[in-house]
Amino acid sequence: MSPITETLLSFLVIAGAVFTFIGSLGLVRFRDFYTRLHGPTKATTLGVGCLLLASSIFFSVTGEGLSLHELLVSLFLFITAPISAHLLAKAALHQGLPSGLARPQAMDGDSAEPVAPNNR
């Protein structure tokens, strides 16, 4: 492994770990659920993305041939992280968790007839 690759890898690994750490730090530091939600969805996803990129480069350099299957995990995380965040936010609103803010006003469309998701 050349020194340049090694420096790049070390940088990516450290950056990934720092972002993962900051994401979990947000979980501890913030006071209400809705602000806590931001740390894990964003910082942690990018952190793990950095680590997976580092892993991909590492195995491409040391192993035989290009190693891209780490991309699959990062892609999967990038697709699923917002979905779980959205569902958790929805569940929290449903349970009426306090947010330290004025309650979000009811949206206009809520009084309308609910649309069945599969009405084709």
């Binding site: 750490f21 958790l88 569940a91």
Partner: protein, 89 residues
């Protein structure tokens, strides 16, 4: 140099584990605990990827992929349960 970076990263991710565990135990509400579980499984993926680089073994990739899949399904099922009191409609 890479080994030093890996050691430091292990410490950081372990600290992240501890903080998520704190939120999991403290709560105070059910969505908080689910969020903490969600973070724990992402941290576990990070730890497995780091271990794979340290041991230069591509075997850990499959475990990471499986944890990513199962963790997502688990989070969605729990959130759905909170939303409807029922998982399968």
């Amino acid at each position: 140099m890479l080994n030093m970076a890996l050691t430091a990263s292990f410490a950081l991710v372990a600290a992240a584990f501890a903080m998520s565990l704190f939120r999991l135990l403290k709560g105070p509400s059910a969505p908080d605990r689910i969020l903490a579980l969600d973070t724990l499984y992402i941290n576990a993926i990070a730890l497995l990827v780091l271990l794979g680089i340290l041991l230069a073994s591509p075997l850990y990739f499959e475990a990471a992929l499986l944890i990513a899949l199962m963790g997502f399904v688990g989070t969605v099922a729990l959130a759905k349960f909170l939303l409807r009191g029922d998982i399968i409609e």
